[in-house]
């Protein structure tokens, strides 16, 4: 059964475009990545599914229930971590978490302590005294403490240092292993690739592609910059190289295919510097879809 089923979902803010005719399904137990540049409609989609905003057209179901008519019921089993975290400034962390837990059945104190320990969150501080990263941790704990069956993560890693990001990803993997479905929105391709099984790519409000992460990786481009003596455009003319630009003794290009071919070629040169990296999402869009 699909945990999330979205069909022709459309949202306009007055005349401004939110999302247009978006359709996709997320199956139980999967980690679904939702990527796109800022302003593409990622948050709009999540806010529609949480019924924070109402659709202009189309429909969506979560757990098989319509999001517009069954909002409160659906949200009982949803955890949400917004991209920007804001909480009642005057409250202490512990009081906020208790307030959050009070909306769900059962005693959540145990789980709250566990999560706070993992994320190294000090429960006795005031929200207003917390740094951005620490507020994000509060967000993570409050999003997970009630044991949701579906998690919405909207650019969750912003503001977390790399160590915390790793702990966070481990936490998400643990939850997922327990059967929790995850909807993970991000504009950073790398973290989506690390975590997700399938991705949807959204651009200018429209879903342009849904594919398994493996397919995306096979088709994926690497961005290569190399500086070497006697470098020439002709010397780098390999199959799979595109957008080759040379300037003095440096060259940059995109490469699609077996990266060993490039390495083999480079090994014959006297290389003074080389960078092989993930293209930015914008670059992927430019080369992958045209």
């Amino acid at each position: 059964m699909s945990i999330i089923a979205v069909s022709g979902l459309t949202k306009y803010y007055g005349k401004a475009r939110g999302i247009v005719d978006v359709s996709f399904n997320v199956d139980e137990g999967e980690i679904f990545g939702f990527i796109g540049p800022n302003g593409a409609g990622k948050s709009t989609t999540i806010r529609l599914l949480l019924s924070l905003i109402h659709p202009s057209g189309g429909s969506a179901t979560v757990f098989g229930k319509d999001v517009v008519t069954h909002g409160p019921e659906i949200r009982r089993d949803i955890g949400y971590l917004p991209s920007e975290v804001y909480y009642y400034e005057g409250m202490k962390v512990i009081d906020l978490l208790k307030y959050s837990a009070s909306f769900y059945d059962g005693d959540r104190t145990q789980r709250m302590r566990e999560l706070s320990d993992v994320m190294e969150l000090d429960l006795n501080r005031r929200i207003s005294d917390l740094s951005y990263g620490n507020k994000k941790k509060v967000g993570i704990v409050q999003g997970l403490l009630h044991g949701p069956k579906l998690l919405f993560l909207d650019e969750p890693t912003a503001g977390l240092d790399p160590l915390m990001q790793r702990k966070f990803f481990n936490l998400i993997r643990e939850e997922n292993a327990r059967g929790v479905t995850v909807f993970f929105s991000s504009h950073i391709l790398g973290e989506v690739q690390r975590l997700c099984t399938r991705v949807g790519i959204i651009r200018e409000g429209r879903l342009v592609e849904i594919s398994a992460i493996r397919t995306l990786q096979q088709n994926n481009y690497k961005k290569v910059r190399v500086a070497a003596d006697g470098l020439s455009a002709a010397g780098l003319d390999l199959p799979g190289v595109t957008n080759l630009q040379t300037e003095d003794s440096t060259a940059s290009f995109f490469f699609k295919g077996d990266i060993n071919a490039v390495l083999h070629k480079l090994s014959s040169l006297h290389v003074s510097d080389v960078i092989i990296e993930e293209p930015t999402l914008e670059e992927i869009f430019m080369h992958y879809y045209e």
Partner: protein, 269 residues
């Protein structure tokens, strides 16, 4: 109604309730402590009043007031009590759901398993409880001040009761009107200017209504619907005007629910 939201709302408003209640109570006791002086000099005072232009006396509702009687004098103070309570109630009304949006906590609250209707109901009940606490303090302060300072002058307890009972209707009006306006405008950035505007605006309209004589401004301002001097003078409410007031409150509440259930919660931008 959700007990958690109710408790949270009430707790976060505790300081505001205390400030308003003590402020209004102090106003009542302080001004009423001068009653004896006023009552003794009533002849002189009424002479002096007569020298003001009648339009001006009308603007302050003094054309109907006899400051030498307990309730005549009390009605004079009550106008300022009403003004304070109007600003307080508007403040709670405007802030009821808009503060969550301007401080961006609405996402937190509304992603919980509660319906919008439950949210509004819980918040409204918390606000009404807050206003009722202030209301009770005003009652106690009024009875105390009158008992302490009335000297040997008598008054109609029934009329005083009518006056104090009008507070509830008055508060609910400003609370609901504040709420519905906050939902009609695109975004309330700061609550205070709106609350002051609505409270003072309604008062000024009532003052102008007196000034312009036969213009029917009394239809739109609760300061006229529940005119203290008129209640004391006739020892009764002006029933059609009170019903009009209640009707506006009910409409504003119904519209607020309708609007909030359909509202798009603005995202962080």
């Amino acid at each position: 109604m959700n007990a958690n939201i109710y408790r949270h709302e009430l707790r976060s408003r505790l300081r505001s309730i205390l400030t308003w209640s003590l402020g209004v109570a102090a106003l009542v006791v302080f001004y009423f402590s001068f009653f004896a002086v006023f009552a003794d000099q009533a002849e002189l005072l009424n002479d002096m009043m007569d020298r003001f232009p009648p339009e001006m006396r009308a603007a302050f509702g003094m054309d109907k007031m006899d400051l030498s009687t307990v309730l005549g004098y009390f009605a004079f103070i009550f106008l300022f009590v009403q003004l304070c309570l109007a600003i307080q109630a508007s403040n709670y009304g405007f802030g009821l759901v808009s503060i969550e949006e301007s401080e961006l906590t609405a996402d937190f609250l509304l992603s919980k398993p509660v319906s919008r209707t439950q949210v509004v109901t819980s918040k409204l009940l918390a606000a009404i409880s807050s206003l009722t606490l202030t209301n009770l303090v005003v009652w106690v302060a009024s009875f105390t001040a009158i008992t302490l300072f009335r000297g040997d002058r008598e008054y109609q307890a029934g009329t005083l009761l009518l006056l104090l009972l009008s507070i509830v209707i008055f508060q609910l009006f400003f609370l609901s009107l504040g709420l519905v306006i906050s939902l009609l405008v695109k975004r309330v950035r700061s609550v205070t200017p709106y609350a002051l505007g609505l409270g003072f605006g309604a008062y000024v309209l009532s003052a102008f209504s007196g000034l312009l004589g036969d213009v029917k401004l009394e239809l739109i301002t609760p300061f006229k619907h529940l005119d203290a001097a008129a209640i004391v003078e006739s020892a009764s409410y002006d029933t059609p005007l009170v019903l009009l007031n209640v009707a506006v409150t009910v409409l504003a509440l119904a519209a607020s629910y309708w609007l909030y259930v359909r509202r798009d919660i603005p995202a962080v931008s």
